[in-house]
Structure formats: C-alpha cells, structure tokens
C-alpha cells in the first residue's frame, strides 16, 4: 500500500517537477551570489571569491539531479524523453519515415476497414436488448431428410407455455403487399407477425404502440405498425398518422404505431430487414389454414426470447424433453419415421447469412497484407542500423545499458507503427462514404457499417501489437553491436552485422512467400469467378427484361377479384396481349417470383407426394421431400430458351377445370423417377395456403413434359430438381412479366405500367431489370470478394517488390568494397551484375518455395469458395510464380546495375 501511495505522490510531483527545479536553481544562484559578495568583502579576489563560494556550496547540478530523481517517476520521464528523441530521429530522415508510415497506414487501414465490416455484420448483428437471449426455433424432420419444415400453431402454443421462453413469436420472412390510395399504388415489404413479436425483440414504438401481446384475434387484427422510413417518405412524418386507414391488398388497416428511426427487422437478407409494415395476426383464422397440429406454416420463422439466465444448451435439453412428451401424446401427427426434432439456434447466427465465409477469407487476406507491411517496415528499420550504428556504439561506450537502448529503439518503432495506424484510420474515416459505395448491396447489415470507437480501438491495438512484435527484433538486434569494430569502422559486412543481414533476408523471403500466397488465392478466385460468369446458364438471358407486379391478396378471399386461376387468367391474358403490342417486344410471358432465374432469394419449396412408389405405399405429406415449384405461363419456356426434351409443354387448353399438369426438369426426373419415364406419373403438391380458406384435398397433377436442366437457382449448381406448373391452372399473386425483344430499358417500365394499369389501375408495377443485371447481381458478393483479394494481392506484390529492392540495395551497399576489390582485380562488370542478380533470385526462389507450400495449405482451406477450379490448379500456381520471379528480377536489376557501375577507385578510397 505504501508503494502505491509513493507512486501517486511521485506522479503528482512529476507534474510539479519543473516548478520545483526552477525554484532550486534560483535559490542556489542567490546563495552563490551572496557567498561571493561575502568573500569579496573578506578580501578575496573576484576569481578566488567565486571559486571558494562554489567549493563551499558543493556540486549544484548533482544536488539538483539527485533531488529530481527522488521526486519523479524515472519510468515516465524516460518515456517522454524517448518519445521526444524518437520524434527528432523520425524528422531527421523524412524519406524513411514517410515510406514506413505510408506502408503501415496501408496495412492497418485496410485491416481496419475489413474489421469494421466484420464488426457490423458478424459481431453485432442484432441491435436489440440482450441479444444473446434471442433464438430461432427450427422444426426438422430428419427422418425424411427435411429441415426447417415450419411450425404449426398448436406447437407454437406449446412452446409458449413450456416455460423455456419468455415469449415466442411467429413471423413471416418478408412478403409483398400493395398499398393503394396514394398517388401510385406501392408495393411494399411486410411481415405478418404474432402480436408478441415486438416484445420478443424488446423494442417499442416511437409513436403510438406496437401490438398488444395478449391480442388473441385468430386472423389479422387489422392493425399495422409502420417503419420510420415509410412514415417519413410516404406520409411526410405526419404526427397524426395514428388511426389513419390504409388499404393493403384491398383490406383496410389502421395505423397503431411507428417504429423508431434506425430500427431494422432481423433477417439475413436486405429484403427481410427492409420490411416497412408489420401486421399482427394469430395465424389461426381466415386467411390462414385451420390450426391443426400437422398443418405446418411454411416460410414462417419462429423467434423467441429465452428466460433470462437460461443457456441455450439447457434450453435445448428442456425442449427435447418437451418434444419427446409431445411425440408420445400425439403419435398420429408425429410418425416415428419422421423423427421430429426442434432445434434452437442463436438468432445472431441465422442473420449473418452466407457471407460469413467470404468475410473470414477477406479478413485472412487483409491480415496477410498487414503482415507484409509489418515485415517491410521491420526491414526498413533494420536497414537503418547501418546508418545509426556509430551513434549506438558511442552511446554504449558511454555507459548506456542494453535495456535502455532497446527501450529507446522500441519507442521509435512503436511511434512509427502508431503514426501509421492513426494515418490509416484517418484515411479510412475520411473516405468511408466513398468506400461504402463499393460494397455490394446484397451484403447484409450494410447500413450498420460505421467507423466507431470500437473500430478506432481495434486500429490502435493492432498498431501497438504490431509495433511491439515487429519493433522488438530490430531493436534487440541493433543493440547487439560489436563496439570496437563499429567504432573503428572496420569494413562493413563484418561478422557483427551478420545477424542483421540474415534477419533481413529472412524477412524478405517471408514477404515474398506471403505475397505468393495472396496471389495464388486471388488467381484461384479470379478463375472461379470467371468460370461462373462464363458458364452456360441453360437459359438465354439476352434481351430479356423482367417487370414485377403484385396482385392483392385480401384477407377475405371472397372479395378478391382474382381469387381463382380462371379469374386471374383473364387478367394475365389481357396483360400479355397488350405487352406484345409494345414496340420492340417479340415475346412475352408471365411467371411467379420463383420463375425469375437467379432473382429470387428464397424459393418456396413444396412437398412432393408421389403416387405409389416401389413398395406401393403412398408417401405422406409431412414426410415428403421438398421441391421447388415455379409457376409459369406456357410461353415461358420458349421465351427463355429452355428446350423440351420429352413430352409436351403447357398449352392454352390447360386450364383450371382441366386436369392439372406439370413439367419437370431432367434433374427432377433423375432424382424421383430414376430409370423410369416420368411422363404420365402423378404427383400431389401441397397448395400454397394464401387465398385458400378450405383445406380441400389437392388434386393429382400429371407430369406431361421434361425440359433440360438450367441453372435458374444458382450458377454454381446445375442439377436442382424443379417442377413447373401453369399459371392458368394455379394462380399466383406474384406476377413477373417477361419481355424479350429490342427493348429500351429506361422506357419499358413506364410503358408496361401503362399497359398493366389500363387493365387494372390498382396494380403496382415495379422492379424492371434485364436478366443480365439479375445474373450479375447474383454474383455480386463473389465479385466483391474477388476484387478485394486481387487488390490485396497487388498491394502485397508491390510491397514484396519494394522489400526485395531494399534488401538487395543494402547488400550491394554493404559489399561495395568487396565489389570494388573484385573490379580492381579484373572481374568483368557483367559478372558483377550476374552475381547480384543471383543473390536476388536466390531470395526469390526461397520465397517462392515457401510461398507455394503455404499457398497449397490456404487453397485447400478455401476450397469451399472455389468453383470449377481445383485447389491444386497448376496453371494458376505456375503463372503466379512466374510473375513473382519477374517482379523480383526487376527489383534486383536496379541495384545490380548500380553495383555494376561501381568505380573501384572511388569505392576503395571511401573511408
């Protein structure tokens, strides 16, 4: 305790230090003056008076210093002194300082940038209170290989009363609704949620209220909560918005609340997060199917908040117990072979989407760049020893301790790294708006990325850590000088500097290896991307535009003007007819959202029930495999260039009242009817619940045709089974109009809107894009990763090239005398050149060897991100090595030429 008190006393005295010192000096000067005058009066000569006075007084300086050292903290004092000295040294060699600081700024700036993206996306994905309590509840049927099959209402009620959760809410995953009554019909994204949804998230409205958690209305409770963005955009932040009636899909809802600014819904895609309307519903009445235990709500997620203090593992165990007891209670609804289980997943994991892998890879890549920058600066620091060796030798000779020297050199390094880090952070901060625009829009949490205090903290920590690690070795090596040798200036390149030069060479080899690894990664990603981009999609996207419209789905189906497929068919045929009249349009077709190739985020999957399999047992619906099922008009296949292989396509005679037909692709034929002809086989697909109030038995659908496989789900995967149905037989609320021809993208949207609204003025028309755009958007995250890694690789190569240039220059400089001697003895200049080049290439070869080994490891780690190229791809490795060799050669060439041109006489005369 006493030492702590002493510490603080000294700390405060440190602040008062100057004051005391000045006073001492003044008083001592006064004393000496008085003593002198006394001596003069006693009769001494002025010189003698002064001398006697000083002798009697004692050593003033020593006294002052001793007092000073007792009073202050030598540690901090020395630190301040070191800092001042370091700043002076940095200013003394501005070129070196500039290069070092810029290199570090580059490395740390890039790393911090990626960190800020990771911070927003992976580390804090949930902007709600106590996010660790939030979980997603997922139902699986592993017995039939089905995951995420959806929950049923009675199960949800069981969850709520289980005591494991504070509350659980069912939520849609972002669907569309028409808002009519304003200037233009708007299509907006909404989520249907159980009324306790907002209390699960823990966020309250800024205006009005959210839904009443005890509201037990079975269907929609006709209340709507708006987002702040929508409130400001469409309603001008009207303070009297509460109670206003809005028409959503022709139903009247009343606004009860507005969510706060900056509130964003949870979800893994921007679409899910950009929900602007929330509708409360009980999921049990019209328009939902009756709440039976076996009728699962597909495309609905369940999020819940655990009881405080309950860990996920414990909660999962309780849940498993509940599941077991329910299985025993209701054996009919939970047949044993389905092996029904319920999983809890932390909500934070489900909202990061599929970018985690890409981001981690990016972080690894930028980490390598940082490493290379640090190595480069360490190299530069070592190179300075030859300049400062005399200074250090003199200081050691005068009695400086090794640790003191190391500390001082380390301070210089730390200062350098810190300055670089701050410069990098500042650059990042000021260019952040520009950089944000480079990021693809499909990155979740794009709006959350900000340069905040945490990011600054990260930059500082990285700077200090890098400075300590990479500054320590040069500092330690620098202090290990051979004193006499250096002071006597015995030829450079003597044994004293061997340790240093070897260290430098090791550093350069490391740099080269690291940049090779980065280049290989970039090369592989580039090839993957290129192959993906060039792959034949199986459909023809040229000159095709897709324009969306949305048919309202009012809660009461009897008020729906397009309730049946026949009614909708009238609209569709008219729209198609009018579309064909537009100039430039050669073909037109319609389809639902799943029919937009590569453009739908979550394809709806329906269970495929096959009529009789080999054992003659009909598969039950809750055990059936799930298949994607787009709905299209007959012209669709021809418009997109998807060829028919067997059987026939839809015709205009396939209507609602004729037998239901379907067209499958080759993948579906292979998967579900191997070695059989699928034509004529019958299946049953569970119908979409929207718009259907009765639980009528769906009819059997007959397969009439097989088309070739197309990559409509993912460019990387060709063999995904699909089953298509006709728009005239099975209505869909989402309608995408496909147009092929010489179209003017800017004009076509307005023209099409005109045509559609000529038929029905309440339909919104939006989202006009070419299929080419849709394709490239689907690749945008990949493209971004590739571009980033390529950028890093180029930077790394540049830095490595600089590193090798620096090292070879240094070696040449060190060996000037040796070269001069050789030249004087008759060596050819060409030989000198070759000697230096060989040195450089030796380093490059070592670096390449190490790099190839490292690159092989890394490429196998990132195999999941590659497409169409193996991790051991020889051409990539070979071409990258050649590029590295060329750069190394070029970097060696300049110093080699300088060596070649050494004038032996001048060099030998240099002292």
């Amino acid at each position: 305790m006493k030492s702590v008190k002493r510490f603080f006393v000294r700390l405060s005295k440190l602040a008062a230090g100057h004051h005391d010192d000045r006073r001492l000096r003044e008083e001592m000067a006064e004393h000496l003056a008085q003593q002198r005058s006394d001596n003069l009066r006693a009769g001494m000569s002025p010189g003698e008076a002064h001398r006697q006075a000083v002798l009697k007084f004692g050593a003033a300086e020593a006294i002052r210093e001793e007092y000073h050292s007792e009073q202050s903290l030598p540690l901090i004092e020395n630190l301040l002194f070191d800092l001042r000295y370091a700043v002076r040294m940095l200013l003394r060699s501005p070129g070196f300082s500039f290069i070092a600081i810029t290199t570090m700024a580059l490395g740390i700036g890039a790393t911090t940038a990626i960190y800020s993206v990771i911070d927003a996306t992976l580390l804090h994905p949930l902007p709600y209170p106590n996010p660790s309590e939030l979980v997603r509840v997922v139902d699986d049927l592993p017995g039939v290989g089905a995951q995420g099959v959806g929950i049923s209402v009675p199960e949800w009620r069981d969850l709520e009363s289980s005591g494991i959760f504070q509350s659980a809410a069912i939520t849609g995953t972002g669907a569309n609704v028409n808002l009519t009554g304003s200037a233009q019909p708007l299509r907006l994204s909404f989520k249907q949620v159980t009324p306790n949804y907002f209390s699960v998230l823990g966020v309250d409205a800024q205006l009005g209220r959210t839904f009443d958690p005890h509201d037990a209305t079975p269907g929609y409770n006709l209340e709507v909560v708006l987002s702040d963005g929508l409130w400001r955009r469409e309603f001008g932040a009207d303070p009297h918005i509460l109670g206003k009636a809005l028409r959503l899909d022709n139903d009247v809802y009343h606004v009860v609340g507005v969510m706060p600014r900056g509130f964003r819904d949870q979800g893994s895609t921007s679409e899910e997060q950009n929900v602007e309307l929330w509708l409360g519903a009980g999921f049990a009445g019209v328009p939902f199917p009756p709440p039976l235990r076996e009728s699962r709500l597909r495309s609905r997620a369940v999020i819940a908040r655990l009881k405080p203090g309950l860990s996920i593992e414990t909660a999962q165990r309780h849940l498993d117990v509940l599941v077991d007891s329910l299985k025993k209670q209701y054996p009919a609804e939970y047949p044993a072979q389905t092996a029904w289980t319920v999983r809890l997943i932390p909500l934070s994991e489900t909202v990061v989407g599929n970018v985690r892998q890409s981001l981690v890879m990016l972080f690894g890549a930028v980490g390598l760049v940082l490493l290379i920058s640090c190595v480069n600066v360490a190299n530069l620091l070592l190179a300075r020893t030859s300049v400062r060796s005399r200074e250090i030798a003199v200081r050691q000779a005068m009695g400086a301790q090794r640790t003191r020297l190391v500390r001082q050199l380390l301070t210089e390094s730390l200062l350098l790294f810190l300055l670089g880090g701050i410069a990098g952070f500042a650059t990042l901060f000021f260019t952040r708006k520009f950089l944000l625009r480079l990021i693809p829009e499909s990155l979740p949490h794009l709006n959350d990325i900000s340069i905040n205090w945490g990011v600054l903290g990260f930059a500082l920590v990285v700077s200090v850590a890098a400075g300590t690690v990479f500054g320590l070795a040069p500092a330690w090596l620098m202090s290990r000088l051979d004193l006499t040798g250096t002071l006597r200036q015995e030829g450079r390149g003597s044994s004293g500097s061997l340790g240093r030069s070897r260290a430098r060479q090791v550093l350069v080899v490391t740099e080269l290896a690291l940049s090779l690894v980065l280049m290989v990664a970039a090369g592989l990603l580039l090839r993957s991307f290129w192959d993906l981009f060039a792959v034949q999609p199986g459909f023809n996207p040229d000159r095709v535009m897709a324009i969306e419209t949305w048919l309202p789905g009012p809660n009461d189906p009897t008020t729906d003007p397009y309730q049946t497929a026949t009614q909708e068919a009238v609209l569709l045929r008219e729209v198609l007819r009018r579309s064909r009249t537009l100039s430039g349009v050669q073909e037109a077709a319609v389809g639902d959202e799943d029919a937009l190739p590569l453009g739908h985020s979550q394809p709806s999957r329906l269970p495929l029930v096959q009529e009789g399999d080999r054992e003659g047992i009909e598969t039950k619906e809750n055990q059936a495999p799930l298949i994607e099922s787009p709905i299209v008009s007959p012209e669709y296949f021809h418009l997109l260039g998807m060829p028919l292989e067997r059987g026939r396509l839809f015709t205009n005679q396939d209507l609602e009242d004729t037998p239901q037909v379907a067209v499958i692709n080759q993948a579906a034929a292979r998967t579900y009817w191997p070695n059989q002809d699928p034509i004529g086989k019958r299946v049953r697909l569970h119908l979409d619940t929207r718009g259907l109030s009765s639980s009528a038995e769906p009819a059997w659908t007959t397969i009439v045709g097989v088309i070739a496989d197309a990559r409509t789900e993912s460019l990387a995967d060709a063999g995904i089974p699909q089953i298509y149905r006709s728009m005239y037989q099975r209505a869909s609320k989402e309608v995408i109009i496909f147009l092929r021809g010489q179209l003017d993208p800017s004009a076509i949207s307005a023209q099409e809107r005109e045509q559609v609204q000529a038929v029905d003025a309440t339909l919104p028309v939006f989202h006009a894009e070419t299929l080419g755009e849709v394709l490239s958007t689907s690749l945008s995250v990949r493209r971004f990763s590739m571009e980033m890694v390529a950028l890093f690789a180029a930077t790394a190569l540049l830095l490595a090239g600089l590193g090798i240039y620096g090292t070879i220059s240094y070696v040449v400089n060190e060996q000037r005398r040796e070269i001069a001697v050789r030249l004087a003895l008759g060596a050819q200049r060409g030989n000198i050149l070759k000697m230096v080049l060989r040195r450089g290439l030796g380093l490059a070869a070592a670096g390449a060897g190490l790099g190839v080994a490292g690159a092989l490891i890394v490429s196998h780690l990132m195999a999941g991100l590659l497409y169409g190229v193996s991790p051991n791809d020889l051409p990539t490795f070979a071409s990258v090595t050649v590029v590295l060799a060329i750069v190394a050669l070029a970097a060696c060439y300049i110093p080699a030429r300088r060596a070649m041109r050494v004038d032996p006489i001048v060099a030998l005369h240099e002292a």
């Binding site: 001492l24 008083e27 001592m28 006064e30 004393h31 003593q35 005058s37 004692g58 006294i63």
Partner: protein, 115 residues
C-alpha cells in the same frame, strides 16, 4: 585541520527547524551561515544540500516561505517555522534527548554493575 564530519540528513532538518525557531524568519543563505556558526565550524555543511531540504520541509508543511528583500536589497525567499513545524521540532527534540540519555547510561555503565 581536522576533517569536518558530514552532517546526517535527518539532523540537518532538525538544525534548520531549531535555527528558525531561535532566530525567526531567515533566507536560505542566512540559515546556512547560522548553522555553520552554531555548530562552531566543526561541521562541514555541504551547503547545497540545504535547498532540497528546505523544499522538502516546505512540502511537508513544517516551514512556510515568502518573498522578501535581503540585507543588500536582493530578492530572496524567507522561511519561517509553522505551527506544525514547531510541534515537529518539540517532538524531535524530545526524541533526541531520550536517545542521548539512553546512550549516556550505556556509556556510563561499568562491567561490575551488570551481574
């Protein structure tokens, strides 16, 4: 000339306090001269060490200082004893006298008294 023994640090403080107590406010040079006088030139005062000591005493609150004019009209710092310093002086005087008495008893003891 016999070697003048050095003064111990702790005792110098005591001397300073006593001097100020006897003679009232003095400046640094004055204190040094007086101590030299009183000790009868038997002590070699490393006079420079007086000043850090004066600073320390002032920080501790035993003495206080203020600017004033010295004999030849030079600006000097005058030190005086505070109440706390006075108490400290009394305590230390008592301690010294006790110590001196004990030591004297030991010096005066003869072997036969201790049986």
């Amino acid at each position: 000339m016999p070697e003048k023994p050095d003064v111990l640090q702790g005792t110098l403080a005591l001397m300073v306090l006593k001097t100020l107590d006897l003679l009232g406010p003095l400046h640094g040079y004055g204190i040094a001269r007086r101590i030299e006088q009183i000790s009868g030139d038997l002590l070699a005062v490393n006079q420079g060490t007086l000043y850090p000591l004066l600073l320390k005493l002032e920080h501790e609150g035993a003495i206080a200082s203020e600017w004033g004019a010295s004999e030849n009209n030079r600006r000097a710092r005058f030190y005086r004893l505070t109440r706390a310093g006075h108490k400290q002086l009394q305590t230390e005087t008592r301690d010294w006298e006790q110590t001196a008495a004990i030591i004297a008893r030991f010096f005066a003891a003869k072997g036969e008294d201790l049986a």
